[in-house]
């Protein structure tokens, strides 16, 4: 912990696992089954770092963010925030203290704003709760300033609106402004720009970049937009069916993807300028939700490189190049015995 390099680690996540109950295997009782939404995911987030989290829809991205923000209890693993395990935080006051330093931007801007409260309420409330400002003109000033920062003008008008008087992208920016309000150290941003056009999107991305630079703000940035992940992120983690499949510096991941799923993902990105025509995605496989997983690679039934071994053994995570981690038997990775248990991942993404 005393090592200088490690001192800049803000959040250190080890073996994070989250299972949801999924009923029983038969109507007459049977064994209890679980959706393995996140299995044994490890990474660390440094001060001023933007860490991208990309992957298949349903692969566990939102679950990771929700567990880290204390909304769901974890099944296993630990998440040290400045050395303290946030998965074991108890008590309202501690939780409140944590929330003022780690803020979440939710994926669904239509479900995450209270429909009967104004924009002003949504942004001023955290300011007041966390005593960032006193009620009155200072709060108003800060509110208007935040709205302007995210391009919601004129702020006086926007502040008085109810969520259903805003467009999708406008709500998304209200959510982002709300997270910024308390000057947090970390923002867990779940698809914060998915409804924004390129121009406003660039504004928000550049704002994220600037706050990282000026205030050392760190982000876990969940996105489907690989181009924006490349533009903004220092590192990118690729998730598939609850497993960390690859993790590497952003540029390297784009240039030299190692995992077959990452490669599939990159070929599917629209590249209108190259006029390559449409890429038909051939790997239309069952998109797995993992209930009671069997041993084997979770990508095996869609993988173009699948080998016999992949169906019976589960690949572990290994650092196959400096700071480049991958979970795939095409590389020299260990095999995880039986069902994956916490603590098997060595990936320190």
């Amino acid at each position: 912990m005393a090592v200088a390099e490690q001192s800049s680690v803000v959040m250190d996540v080890q073996g994070l696992t989250k299972h949801f109950p999924a009923g029983r295997s038969s109507l007459l009782g049977g064994e209890r089954r679980f959706v393995h939404a996140v299995d044994d995911v490890s990474f660390s987030l440094h001060r001023g770092e933007i860490l991208g989290l990309v992957g298949e829809s349903g692969s566990g991205k939102s679950t990771i963010a929700r567990v880290l923000s204390g909304l769901y209890p974890a099944t296993a693993g630990q998440a040290l925030f400045h050395g303290q395990d946030v998965l074991k935080l108890r008590g309202r006051r501690r939780m409140l203290g944590y929330r003022s330093r780690v803020q979440m931007v939710f994926q669904d801007p239509f479900g995450s704003l209270n429909p009967v409260k104004t924009v002003a309420y949504h942004i001023e409330r955290p300011l007041l709760i966390h005593h960032r400002t006193k009620r009155g003109s200072a709060t108003r000033e800060r509110l208007y300033e935040l709205l302007r920062t995210v391009g919601l003008t004129p702020p006086e008008d926007v502040a008085a609106k109810l969520p259903n008087q805003l467009s999708g992208g406008q709500r998304q920016r209200v959510s982002f402004a709300r997270a910024l309000a308390v000057n947090p150290e970390v923002i867990l941003a779940d698809e914060p720009i998915s409804m924004l056009d390129v121009s406003i999107r660039m504004g928000i991305l550049n704002l994220m970049g600037r706050l990282r630079q000026e205030q050392g703000l760190s982000y876990l940035y969940i996105t489907h937009d690989l181009a924006s992940a490349r533009y903004l992120c220092d590192r990118i983690i690729v998730l598939y069916a609850g497993h960390l499949m690859e993790s590497a510096p952003a540029e390297e991941l784009m240039r030299e993807p190692l995992h077959p799923y990452t490669r599939l993902l990159l070929t599917a990105v629209p590249k209108p300028r190259q006029r390559q025509g449409r890429v038909r995605v051939e790997a239309r496989g069952e998109i797995p939700t993992v209930v009671s997983p069997q041993p084997g690679c979770r990508f095996a039934n869609r993988c173009p490189n699948v080998m016999d071994r992949c169906r019976v053994e589960t690949p572990g995570v290994a650092e196959v190049r400096p700071r480049h981690f991958v979970r795939c038997f095409l590389y020299d990775v260990p095999s995880v015995e039986g069902r994956s248990a916490p603590g098997t991942g060595v990936g320190n993404g």
Partner: protein, 343 residues
Amino acid sequence: MTAQAVAFGGSSLEPAAASDALLAVTGLSVEYLTPRGPARAVQDVSFSLRPGEILGLAGESGCGKSTIAHATMRLIKDPGFITAGSIRFRDVEVLNMSSGALRDFRWRRVALVSQSAMNALNPVLPVGTQIVDALMAHERIGRRQARRRAEELFELVGIEPRRLRSYAHQLSGGMRQRSIIAMALALNPEVLIMDEPTTALDVVVQRDILQQIEDLQARFGFAILFITHDLSLLVELSTRIAVMYAGRLVEVAPAEELLMRPLHPYTKGLMNSFPSIDGANERLEGIPGAPPDLVSPPSGCAFHPRCPSCTGEDRSLYRLQTSSRPELQEVAPNHWVACHLYR
């Protein structure tokens, strides 16, 4: 104004268009009342949709895209009002439909995948029950058959049919979005309006679903209005693209043409602000300036305060840009633009 109506009602654009258009929107205007006055969210918008066509609608956040979608379904609620225009579906005026006809129109004829899809499922019923109920309410089929159809639809959008038993909160954002797409497809609509349907989908799933929808479209010939901020997606997907700014259409062209030869400075700006996954990773600025205020929009061309071609060097052009609103004109075959640079 009339030029626009004629253009997208069809007659001058393509002689046969008017009669074979499934949906023809003409001169549509929508306002929201606000304390400062009416916000003109949609102004004098015209377009038509033919069977088998995919019309893409792009434009910045808050420019009125969802408002067009809602107006087309007659779903605008107080304090919003349709103040002008006509919406004809198979030559029947939607704005005059009785409530019975409207109900039939909304589900069986035109289906909407709304932007709030992620939040649109009933939280206290399993998603499967919701699809089955909808099928049984609108079509003469039994529960078993409806169940089977629901399973097929889930398969189609790439969710395990087992998941029909899940409640909305147990599904990921992308799964909820896909459930809504499945529901919209359930009754074989003739027009499908999709408002940002893929914001929670990774590119692989997105491609897969769009392929499935295109295959269905080839089979059944329905028309699609596809709304998204993602121009690169539209360029691949659509037959034609309409670009909107501050409530108005500013450019309409075949997809390929728009990609190769964007004319409106706003469209050009959009095309130039894409980050990409290859090539140099340069800083991009987007389009400088703030989105316009819809209550008191800029005079003349609404884009002029942000337009790189509005410099004042050419005095007479500048006077036009700042005082007179450009009309949509066909400046090349099927390529319409509203901009004073193309007088």
